[in-house]
Symmetry: C2
Subunit: 463 residues, 2 copies
């Protein structure tokens, strides 16, 4: 086969059944799909160009793959087969420009590794976009992701990706922009690829912007209900307090944390806020803590707990990080579907209230955690059997539609992939989705790049 | 004419020569261009659709117009004539969502009016993108602009425009996204129109995000040279100090401020930094001031001057705001061309040094001010006659090319328009510019939307 000829290196091309299975499925994806025909492991932009040219010649689908942490089926194979481009050998950091607060790297570098490396080198900078552990820069760009730091730093759709080198479906290599922090030189092609989920090209190099690494501290405070917690969050943020994260952890999640047995604490099982403060000095961190305590109390909070030192801060934040696994522990042996709708913040209490009622009424156990500063929340819908799985899938549909009704989105963080395609026209309108397809057709006329993802199969279906 | 029939309102369509002149030229634009054939004043999205349909029928260029503050010829007429769509009657604020920190408005609303209105209503929020006075939301979106606040809040290419309602060249009306603060629902169509300079559609409604309005203070400090000032800026920002603006004002600009006669102060005529601090409390502002003073001194600064009260702060910042006019006053009766190149910050001192040498060697008087936190600066190239104008235009070319060589851009803020078209291929490469053109062709197949702007006429000219 031409791929093997083109890549004479050992292990550059694989059709091993185990490999094909790993690259086509994932333990937390519940979407239809198939196996890829072959996996290729490029080591350079030039290698990716070779793959794209062969794929074009044989009209084979091309699916990029790196961290494999996405949740909506982004890297599933296409039913006609195709080439999975596993970028994991392109995981080098090419340049760290400390004075410019930026870094040039390959797509398979993991954000957690970047931050660890900077810490080890004593460079007081970090990359603040923090989706799930294991996510890579290329995948993060392509999904338009975000995380707990978004309330302070925004998302992948902001200004953290300065430029991208992309292999287009034509095989041409472009660089979207230069390295300066700002540019008004024409429309923003970097942004074209952010959230395009590999459907417009394969990203092979990225310049990311880094933020100053500041001292932080952590606090937890409990509320009577989600509304009170949300109102407190809004007021705290609008006072300009130095908030890096503000996470809503609902009463059921607090219970799960206690049950899970890994916490150093016994938490009040109430709707709570987990705060990470940041500031240049101890004095500023203390000031923020006082401000948060005072405003929370105004909204009827109880039990404000401020970490006394770095160790306590890490312990508390670990409880936040463990929520996926502590949530699963509510029903031993269960699996979970994670939703990620997002609405204007003022509508978040209603949405969570309605969602909680809905999930209770169908008997689904579902802890809820929210990036409350952004109006975004995750419900972890637990299931143990096919019947419960069906209930959970249906509930995802209702949650998505409810968010859309409240001027929100079916996906605040995870992207469309296969799982959210059906909501896109409802959310954005036919014309908007058609415009996406127009651009897709112009850039990828053969439709070979990650086919079957992102774009609904039929847009104008009601007509 | 069909336009007059379609718009039976009084004064909705104008071919008055004075009107045509106002809409086709501007006192601070020095680019080729022509008059529009006719000016239309739509009052709604539906009106814009009507205009677009008529323009399509008669194959007439369509040029959107609102604040008319752009500097690169964005709203000049096309040589074959065409319709200028003056959006200034679409200047309503439709919705203020205080809890969500956002606002829905029409395109001709001015950012300064938004901030004044919020202040008058006692709503402690503001829109932080601050280009020249008079700029409108629609124009700011379309130019991908920024301003002095970018060091803290980023640019129009960040996450301040939540969605846009756009009339496409097809006449179809789309809304790019819903109102939630985050969305990962497909690629980011809002961003497609940011910086597209009216070439892909006409923006008729926008949702903008607002930021908490925080207490500020102002300080000025002087340095031995631009390098010392830049190094101090980098260190101050990386310490996480609460900096809203940090503006480099060079020695010549300081002299111009003294000469201009409107300042309350007699400034040291040295390369200086003007800071605007922000913080939730007086204590945090004081802390920032101390931090700035200390780090500046480490870099050899002199004469740290902190405003003692709000009145002094306003006086000092007015000196910063007056720099365009104080700069012009260096040569009475002169005009000026303003450049806006941007490079990675570490390269800013070299770029400014080379630029100063270059301008001195050809005898151009040119005060320089920089958004130093972003690596962006403006040189105001003064001229009084055709000969000096020619020298200034040539210098603009050299400055642009020098910035591109240093991994930067020919335009950090003002956009491409007519004035920067010739540098785009050099800056971005042929393939990147071709991709812009591919998208342009897909969205506007007849090429009627603001033709002759942004896209270089020939991309692959060397071949």
């Amino acid at each position: 086969m031409e791929l093997k000829d083109a890549f004479s290196r050992v292990n550059a091309v694989s059709t091993d059944p185990d490999d094909l299975h790993t690259h086509g499925f994932s333990s937390n994806i519940y979407h239809p799909g198939a196996l890829h025909s072959v996996i290729v492991y490029p080591e350079s932009t030039e290698d990716v160009v070779k793959v794209v040219k062969i794929a074009t010649k044989y009209r084979m689908p091309v699916v990029p793959y790196s961290g494999a942490t996405s949740l909506e089926g982004h890297f599933r194979g296409h039913e006609v087969g195709g080439i999975c481009v596993d970028l994991n050998r392109m995981d080098k950091i090419i340049q760290i420009n400390e004075k410019d607060s930026d870094m040039v790297c390959q797509p398979a570098v993991r954000w957690m590794d970047i931050n660890e490396l900077l810490r080890d080198k004593g460079i007081p900078l970090f990359f603040p976009i923090d989706p799930g552990p294991g996510a890579t820069i290329g995948g993060m760009l392509s999904t338009g992701c975000s995380g707990t730091n978004a309330v302070r730093y925004g998302t992948a759709k902001g200004e953290w990706f300065l430029n991208a080198t992309v292999v287009l479906p034509s095989g041409e290599v472009i660089k979207t922009r230069r390295r300066s922090r700002k540019s008004a030189a024409g429309f923003d092609l970097t942004k074209l690829f952010i959230g395009a989920e590999g459907t417009l090209g394969i990203v092979t190099e990225v310049t990311i912007r880094l933020a100053p690494l500041l001292p932080t501290n952590v606090a937890v405070v409990h509320f009577l209900d989600v509304r009170a917690a949300t109102e407190a969050s809004i007021e705290i943020i609008n006072q300009g307090a130095g908030i890096q994260c503000v996470e809503l952890i609902d009463a059921l999640s607090m219970k799960a944390t206690n049950n899970y047995g890994k916490s150093k604490r016994k938490w009040q099982e109430k709707d709570s806020l987990f705060f990470k403060f940041q500031g240049p000095t101890d004095a500023s961190l203390k000031e923020t803590a006082q401000m948060v305590k005072k405003i929370s109390e105004k909204h009827g909070s109880t039990g404000f707990a401020l970490a006394k030192n770095q160790k306590e801060a890490e312990e508390i934040w670990t409880d936040r990080k463990n929520l996926y696994y502590s949530g699963l522990s509510l029903i031993p042996g269960s699996k979970g579907i994670t939703t990620d709708v997002c609405v204007p913040i003022s509508k978040l209490p209603d949405l969570i209230h309605e969602t909680r009622k809905d999930l209770d009424s169908v008997g689904l156990v579902s802890p809820i955690i929210g990036h409350v500063g952004d109006g975004n929340f995750h419900a972890l819908l637990l299931f143990k059997n096919d019947e419960e799985f069906k209930l959970a899938k249906e509930a995802v549909g209702r949650i998505s539609r409810r968010a859309i009704e409240l001027e929100g989105t079916c996906t605040g963080e995870h992207g469309v992939g296969i799982g959210k395609k059906e909501y896109l026209v409802e959310e954005l309108g036919e014309g908007t989705v058609e415009l996406m397809k127009t651009i897709k057709k112009a850039v990828d006329p053969l439709g070979l790049f990650n086919p079957g993802k992102l774009y609904p199969d039929r847009t104008r279906q009601e007509k």
